[in-house]
């Protein structure tokens, strides 16, 4: 049976659409694929699959048909096979548990038609997994990631023979979209990108750079950006400010409200990493100008290694990064710990961890 597309919010699949024609052409193959998927135990609803095909796959295949008609069959087959897995797992389709992933298929993948025609299975899977991972992180911004990757892909050169550079850009964009724990490895990837791409991925498109079209100017601009990026709190698009201590946000909350902690956490530092521990688990804590994340530690967390990078008294007077300031919100803190660029403070009767950073100026060295 051909998975019969049911009426979707957008209506029936147009019988003349590229997807409908391709499904008709490979009818036996696709029918068998659905039957086998169901037989191997996948909890696959053909109704949900039909909706997903209409809503998400049809626009992608239509975009491919416009750009590279010869690639319609392999792209359809790849997306169809992937859809069987993902609809069965409720990752995409009308029962999707992550609306962001559903949006990635219906809105982002059609914008990626050009690279998608090259490696449909790989790119569609990568985008699905990336948005899924971003959606799982409370402080991340998957919509920003989708928008920025779509913008990059629309200016992707026709002649580009591979999707690898786009996927590399996606990694840097994920860091920019709030995944602070990936900062180190994202910066390494950024260092390996060609100058125009490295600037574009941080929001410096050609229209913005204007006169920076020549190679030398691009390179200089990039050097300047790299210097600024050494400071975790210096955003590339924000001009430098006078140094000051600021509460830059908070992480964590009570498990009962969807947070990670079952009891008020305590914080400690070990090496260059901050750790937060409650009665049940230990998390590493990461923060920079783009986001703040907690990652549950798998395995044995390292022991505390006390450092004297910060001082905090009962009145909330904090000394950190060569600056001293009185921050009343930090008065009567339960505990605190600091690494080079970040001070984490816990308060009695709170599951939140307040984050203090030195914004502006040169970073303090231990």
């Amino acid at each position: 049976m051909t998975p019969s597309p049911r009426p979707s919010p957008q209506g029936l699949l147009d019988r003349e659409s590229p997807l409908a024609l391709e499904l008709e052409r490979g009818r036996e193959h696709y029918n068998r694929a659905v039957a086998v998927a169901q037989r191997r135990g996948l909890r696959l609803s053909t109704a949900a699959l039909g909706v997903h095909l209409c809503e998400a796959v049809a626009p992608i295949v239509a975009a491919i048909a416009r750009l590279a008609p010869a690639r319609v069959p392999p792209v359809t087959e790849a997306l169809f096979e992937l859809s069987l897995e993902l609809v069965a797992k409720d990752v995409v389709g009308p029962e999707s548990r992550r609306p962001q992933v559903r949006a990635a298929w219906s809105q982002l993948l059609p914008r990626l038609a050009r690279p998608l025609a090259l490696e449909p299975q790989r790119l569609a899977s990568a985008v699905t997994n990336a948005v899924h991972n971003l959606a799982l992180e409370p402080s991340a911004r998957p919509e920003q990631w989708m928008r920025e990757l779509g913008d990059l892909a629309e200016h992707w050169p026709d002649s580009s023979p591979e999707v690898e550079p786009l996927l590399a850009c996606g990694k840097v964009l994920a860091w920019r979209a709030g995944m602070a724990h990936w900062r180190g490895s994202a910066l390494q990837i950024w260092d390996g990108l060609p100058d125009p791409l490295a600037l574009a991925v941080l929001g410096w498109s050609e229209s913005k750079t204007g006169t920076l079209a020549d190679a030398r100017a691009l390179s200089e601009r990039r050097q300047a950006l790299r210097t600024r990026l050494a400071d975790p709190w210096a955003l590339p698009e924000v001009t430098a400010r006078a140094p000051a201590l600021r509460i830059v946000g908070s992480v964590g909350s009570f498990r009962g409200f969807g947070g990670p902690f079952v009891s008020p956490p305590m914080v400690y530092a070990s090496g260059a990493t901050l750790w937060a521990r409650d009665a049940e688990a230990t998390h590493s804590l990461h923060a920079d100008g783009f986001g703040k994340t907690l990652r549950r530690a798998v395995g044995t967390p390292p022991e505390e290694r006390p450092s004297s990078l910060a001082r905090l008294d009962a009145e909330g007077t904090v000394t950190f990064g060569g600056l001293t300031a009185r921050v009343p919100a930090l008065a009567h803190a339960r505990g605190f710990a600091a690494v080079e660029h970040l001070l984490a403070v816990t308060l009695p009767r709170s599951h939140h961890i307040l984050l203090v950073a030195r914004l502006g100026g040169e970073p303090c060295r231990a």
């Binding site: 068998r32 191997r40 860091w175 750790w275 798998v298």
Partner: protein
Amino acid sequence: MVRKRFDQVSKAPTLPGPGRAEGHFDVGELYRGPAPIEAREAVTTRLDEKLRQAYFWVTNHAIINPFYDVEYNAGPPKEYTFGGQGIAVTLPSDQSYSSYVLLPLLNLAVRRRCLLVGGPGRGKTTIAMLMGLLSGYSLRELRRAVQHGQPQMTVSDLLGNPLPSSLLAAKEMDEIKIAWRRWLGMRVKIIDEYNRIPTRTQSALLTVMADNYAEVYDQIYECPKAAWYLTANDDAGGGTYQVIEALRDRIDVVVKALHFNTRFLSELLARIEDDVRPEEVVPAEIIFTPAELERMEREILAVELPVPLRRRLEFFASHFEFLESSARQLEYLTKDTFKLSGLDRGTLALDETGKDALADLGTQTHNGLSVRALMTSLVFVKAMAYFRASRVVSFEDVRQMLPFVLHDKLVQNADAPWFEQRGNAALRIDQVSWIRRLFDLSCREYDRLDRDRDDPVERMTAEFSGGLEGLEEKVVRERLVTIERTLKEWSRGGKLYGHLYDDILNLKYLHQRYSNYLRWVTCCP
């Protein structure tokens, strides 16, 4: 597309360990998630991980084998008792395995000889073929290479024929050219129904299995090191021809093909309907190259066996060879002495020793453990640890592997009084559980004697292994006195058991070595 269902190799670590938490993260994680990403480039996988991936592929996709008889526990398992015999059903609290897939796979990794026994249609040949496929051979190559035992099988059928032209032209034996059978040169050798091979051909097979070469008309073919898989429908070695003892002795592990669980009939149905055989769709990621197999074996042999565990194994092995009523000279007090005498077992008066026949584990066997059996045990316990991503053998690795290695090595004395005890009768039949029980009882005795902390022979052996060179006469005399005192103390206990027998022999050896040295020191000061 249908093949895709068989094409899934575990991407997640198959045995995630506690490890050390890291504060550093890789943005490459961004693209890992619910959607499968096809590997674009060869991923460097650790070989133990690849071995586990192969295991899980075989158990999940190739062989319908919902059994977990190799049990590991991370904490106390849940246990339920069923039936009048009190059959314990345990739910293991750690990753556990099916011996039917695990043992053939470990055999592939250490390239030894595995016997698969069980009734017809249990998948014995299939698992052997799968092991061949995992070694990189094609199905076609393997089908041609499988040696099917049958009553008319000749030595030429097995090994090869002289080329007729060279046979006619040859003036000397060494001028005869032999067309060797191709399977002799393969890294995986499969002998189907080996107990249907005539006795004379079994002898030729023995040479290949034992010494890794084949001989026809004075011509020698040197075989590469290989993993062997033999199948038999009859565990007892019966069949059309009795299997010669030397051939049985060369088999390193014995694995039973378990029955088909009828709850999995739907899986059979799906296979019929899909018309795809797992052997035809082994994923490339789990196929080992010859170099990888070599490296894996080296890595396995490098796995450490801690001294306390080695001591437990020695203690266990020491129970079986000793037979007090077989001689008067210490060195000959063995079952081997009795066996060579050719006398009937009834002539032995076991009760004269005054020992508790229930406590003496040696009464449960007709033989002791050969050097080959002990060496194979050591190799397989290391392989088990390696499979579980450990570089050190654990107690449970030893406990789980011994029954499969010693299955055909320890000959059970079913008349032993121990089997008359309540709940033990079934162990006359269930060889695996019996050997595991023997090991447990041996460990209990080891703990009762507190051998981990109080082991004078180990201490004295360690002293001796420091070397004799430069040892002062006074020290040597002290050590001799210690040995004599120890023996005197032990002799007061009266009863002699296997473990004590080996220790006494060891002390006698040390005494002799020290005495000889002392004579030399005092003669040539």
